[in-house]
Every structure is written in C-alpha cells, then in structure tokens.
C-alpha cells in the first residue's frame, strides 16, 4: 500500500511549506489561524492532515492554492511546489492556471461545489476552456475514463445534473474534476464526511488506487483519524493553528508522542477490546480568539503541562522517526533554556489568564465549565 517510489524527473512533485502564517482580520486585530507551519509532503506519498474544527487545517489546505479569501491572508511563509515554484508569490493568470492545472482540489462537500444549473459535462468544458485546453474532445474522453475507473458510467454522469447523483457519486465527480487536467498535487478536503460507511470505504480505496496509478502527491484533510489510518502514509496533526506532530501513520498511531495526539486517539471508541480504554480529552479546542499567542497552544488541556509551556513555544523538531512540538516529550535543552530561565521568572503560570486580556472575550469559555465538562465524562 505504501508508495514511496524513487523520484524520476517527471515523477510526483514535492511540496515544501515553510513558516507559513495565515491571519484573519477580526475586530480584535489580525489573528493567526495557521502559525509558523513548516511541513514537507514527500513526492508520491499520501499525507493525512488531522485536526478539529478551528485547528486551521482547511486554511492550510487553501494556502496550497494561494486561495485564502479575505478577511484572511497569507502573512508570511512560502509554499514551494515542485515544478511550479512558490505558490504564495503567484498572481493573476499564472495562479489561475496553477489551480486545477498543477494542483487539484477536491472540496469539502463536493456536492455543494458543483453548479446545480449545469450538467457535469458542461462544467467540465468550462474547466477546459478556462485552462486553455485545445482538445476538448480529448478532455471529455479523459474524464469518461477517469469516471469509469472509479466505477461510474462516464457518459451518463457527464449528462447528469448534480441533484441526479448520490453523495458518493458527486464525490467521485469532484475527484475527476480535480484530476482531469493532469494535476499531480491533489488536496482532498474532508473527502468522506457525510458519506455512509460503505461508500466511505469505497471512496478511500479509490483515492488510494488513483494516487498510486497516477503518481500523485496527495494531501487528505480530515477530522477522522480512521480515515487517515486507512488512506495515508504520513500523518500530520494540527491543533490551534500549529502542527504538533508529524510522522509515519503506523508509528504515530501505535505510539503517539504529543499529548494531544495521544488524547485524540484515546478518545475514539473502538469496535473491540476494553470499552473503558476510551477516555475523554479534557477541555475543548480553542477558537481563533482563544488561541494563546505565546507558549504551547495545547497547554490548557494537557496533563504534562510545565511552567515552560506557558511562555515558550515548543519547537517543531525531529525526534527519531517523526517531528513533535512538545516541551515534555522532546525537551529542547539547547534551544529553550536560555529564554525560559528568564521568562519563567517574569511570567509565572498566571500568564495564561493575561494573554487573553487584549482580546475580545471569547464566546464561550470559562475554566470552571471546562473542568466540569470532563470530570463527569470518564467516570464510568
């Protein structure tokens, strides 16, 4: 299943994201939804990006297309895609050609990204014309092949309106539209959310097969670790706009290092085994306005919290087979001691309450409530 073929000159492209920061303009100033994220998508691999709502995973994915919409903007960093250069610097027509041309994007809820007034075939032709495809006949033939490859009747689907297709079929149409122009970097945003179990298994299998057949570099974004386990080679975990852990899927799932990854995996009820092994993760994920702008983003829910977590951002650094951003797991003695010594004196553990002071009061947050929400949870 794992596909890490050696790179040929025209093999799958690599993606290098460096120090990417995406901010959204709000009444409280510009707040980062993605902060200092560096990540590599190795050529020919499927990477699964996991995060809860508000973790910044969709924003990060849109940055790959340089398609973050106002009030959001990419404020720093670069996204280098092999054969294309830095996408963040692309403008105008070049950018439009890259989107769909080199980078395919399958939108969350593909059912809602199709035009209800046009048949799938007409939308395919629109796509071809906007990308200056000379031979539209060949494009249609290619689309038909792709749909047939995914188990659909290509001619019928191209003649259909989106309401005539089921959820699983629309999802496959979305994948077809992302790949038909021969894109080699593909981003799938929640590809199986709202699909039934059997349809989901089917779509995941298709994603895996098409990925291998066409030599793609694929990024799958999801909130469901199960989906990543099934489809991906690499897993990247996002929390509060930061990348907290990244590594090979089996290694990370079997032995998660970051406390958030560990908590998340433990919070999934399983089909077999001891039912009470599932434990709720205390607290709740931060929103844009409640993400602390200093120190570890996960500390308010963390069992391993130390003083240093309040003041110093944990570095996203390599520990053996993976990257982790945690003071407790990968104490970065050389990097942090110099700053932490002094800062610990000045800002004791009350720093947390002070951080939010410059910001608008979050909609719903009170530490008392957080604590209560969980102490009941895992008692049984």
């Amino acid at each position: 299943m794992t596909l890490t073929t050696p790179m040929s000159p025209d093999g799958p492209p690599s993606v290098r994201i460096r120090d990417l920061t995406v901010v959204y303009r709000t009444a409280a100033g510009e707040l980062p939804a993605v902060r200092d994220v560096s990540m590599d998508l190795a050529p020919g691999t499927v990477t699964g990006l996991v995060g809860e709502s508000g973790s910044g995973k969709s924003t990060l994915a849109l940055s790959l297309l340089n398609a973050v919409q106002p009030p959001g903007r990419i404020s720093a960093g670069s996204v280098d895609i092999g054969g294309l250069g830095d996408v963040v610097q692309l403008r105008g027509d070049k950018l439009r050609q890259a989107r769909g041309g080199q980078i395919g994007y399958v939108f969350q809820a593909a059912q809602n990204s199709l035009n209800p007034l046009k048949t799938v075939g007409k939308q395919l032709l629109d796509l071809g014309r906007s990308h200056d495809v000379k031979d539209l006949r060949a494009l249609v033939a290619e689309a038909r092949d792709l749909l047939a490859r995914m188990g659909l009747d290509g001619a019928r689907v191209l003649d259909s309106y989106q309401h005539e297709l089921s959820g699983g079929m629309r999802q496959r149409v979305g994948i077809m539209l992302a790949l038909v122009l021969n894109a080699h970097v593909v981003v799938l945003d929640e590809p199986t959310t709202a699909l039934d179990m059997i349809t989901q298994a089917n779509i995941l299998e298709i994603i895996r097969e098409i990925h291998a057949e066409r030599g793609l570099t694929t990024l799958v974004i999801t909130h469901d670790i199960g989906v990543v386990a099934e489809v991906a080679d690499e897993i990247a975990v996002m929390y509060g706009g930061r990348l907290v852990e990244q590594g090979p899927v089996r290694a990370v799932l079997g032995d998660p290092h970051h406390p958030y990854t560990r908590g998340l995996i433990q919070a999934i009820p399983r089909l077999t085994g001891d039912i009470d092994e599932a434990q709720a993760l205390p607290g709740r994920p931060p929103t844009l306005t409640t993400i602390p702008d200093q120190g570890c983003v996960f500390r308010s829910r963390c069992a391993l919290r130390m003083d240093v977590c309040d003041t110093v951002d944990p570095l996203f650094q390599s520990t053996g087979d993976r990257m982790v951003a945690c003071h407790a797991v990968a104490p970065a003695a050389t990097f942090t001691t110099t700053t932490s010594e002094s800062e610990r004196e000045m800002t004791p553990s009350r720093a947390w309450s002070g951080i939010g002071s410059g910001r608008r009061e979050p909609a719903a947050d009170g530490d008392g409530v957080v604590a209560r929400e969980t102490n009941e949870g895992d008692s049984a």
């Binding site: 179990m197 059997i198 349809t199 089917n202 799932l253 919070a267 077999t272 039912i275 709720a280 969980t374």
Partner: protein, 344 residues
Amino acid sequence: MITGTNIVKTFKQRGNVLDKREVPALRGVDFTIPKGGAISFIGESGCGKTTLGRIIAGLETYDDGEITIGGVDMSSLRHRAQQPHFRKVQLIHQDPYSALNPTRTIHQSLHDPLKLRARQTGRSRQWTYDRAEELLNLVGLDPGYVLPRYPHQLSGGMRQRVVIARALTVDPEVLIADEAVSMIDVSLRLGILSLLRDLRERLGVSLLYITHDVATARYIGDDGDMYVIYRGQVIERGPTETIIADPVHPYTQALLSAIPVLYGVEQPGAEQVKPVQAADAASHAEDGAHCLFSSRCPFADDRCVTEWPRLGHAHESLQDPGGRVHACFHPVQRQVAAAPIQRS
C-alpha cells in the same frame, strides 16, 4: 418499557399522475426497549432508522403495527390521550445548532417545559428554578454560566448538553439519541457519550441510540441489543458484542468491514466482506419477493432472488443460543471487525 410490533411505514412521494411512487421506509419492524436498558439502531442513511426513532417519539405516524408504552397500546388511543405516554420518550437531535431557539436564552428554553411539568405535578414555581440548575449540573454544565446565555454563545458540545438537559425536564423514561455526536468535535464526543451512559446508570432511563457508527453504539450500550437495519428491514439483531464479534448477515459484515482500521493500534479482521454493487445502483432495483440485499450480496444464490427472508423465519438455525436473530438464508459467521494489536 416500549415495544413495537410489525411497524410499517410507507412514504408516498408527490409527483404527477404517472410518476407517483411509494417508498417503503419500514417493512414490519419489531423492537423492544427494556426498562433501563440500551439498544441501538445501526444502518446507512435512508435505511429508516431515523423514521423509526421519530415514530417511537410520537413525532411521526405509522401505517400499520402496534407500539406499546408501559403496556398501553398507542394505536387504540386518540392523539390527546397519547401525549402523556409519549412524554416519557424524548428525542435528542443530531444538530445541537438548530435544536435550540436562537432568540431565547438557555433559561427560557429550559423554563417552559419545567413550568408545564410543575403544573402537571403540582409543584411550586421555585421548584422550576431549582430543577433547571439541578439538570444543568447533572449534564456537567455550570448553571450560573449557561443559564443567562443564548445558544450562539455556547460551543457545540455545551449546546448538546443543554439539549440533553432540556430532554430531561419532563422526566422521560426513554432517551432517543439520533446521531447525537456526529456534529461534535472529535475530542469532545466521548464526553457526550459517557454522559448518556452515566444518565442511564444514575437516572435509570433507557437509551435508544441511532447511528451509523457501530463503535459509539457499542460504547453506549455494550450490554444491550443491536439492530442492524437495511432498507426498512431489521436484518440482524442480537447482543451488541455478538453482532460485532460474529456477525452472520453479509450486510452486517460489509458494514463492519467498512469501518476504518486504526493501523498501528489495530489489525483488520480475519475476513472482509465487500458489497458487489454500489448502493446507488441497488436502490433502483425492483422490490419483490427477494432478499433486499441480494443485488449487492457476494454470496447470493437462486433462493435469495426468489424468496424474501424474514427476520427470524429464515432458517432453522437462525435462533442461536445467544439470542441473535437474522434474515439470511446462508448465515455464516465471519470475523470482520478490527481487533487491537496485542502488545507484549
């Protein structure tokens, strides 16, 4: 205790004269919700599990069959006389964002049903205030914080807890949770699930959990029965652990095979069952005297396309000692569920 016998429901599609179609949603379903017990309905979207839940909550009519609540047959009662019985059954919706009135504070949302309840039981006005706080405490919220707020000021997980508290205002005996956690953040889901489990333990309410997620159903009621529903028919029913460990109906096996395996933590089951045809194509197949799953079943033979296997009437061996019944002519136990990797 609630029992249902041979519940039938058919939706009539509106359309022009030639195009009128009848969609069978439930084809004679039997069920029992034991007092203080937990059962689950499992199935894909469109299988009728939500319709059945709404019928049990008194929100939907049924064409045929019988529902008894605490021994009283509902079909023989007029609508008004049914109400005090259906009061004992409360539904928790999937979407906590639309289940609460956005223009009313949580206090207002909880207070109306409580006032009604106070009038019915001859309690004082003060009781309603005390009870609201008590209920919020019970579901793990801070009343002082939550009561004056509007739904949009609360997170999804908190809202779902408020919805549960509201369901409890009328002292129900049965809670029906229809996909109650599917819209909640992953790290908060387990908190809601264990709250439901906890309420069952502490208040003795029965739970009916409706979902497509077998693992959460197991978490809620591993000691209860699981009903696997396919196109309006219960095709396998039995103790939850039995159904997961040794399913005999190919559809149950396909459903369990489709659940993602957490590689690194789990290994896939010994066998996997894959339906031969996509659901999209099968849903247009003619209804008739055949197994509803036969067009997708990899093990179907001639008998499956000429005879309709009914739950519990299909085969001599279909009542196994464990209390499992199924609707398959060729039941074979297959171990398809993923199992944890044993660590040394």
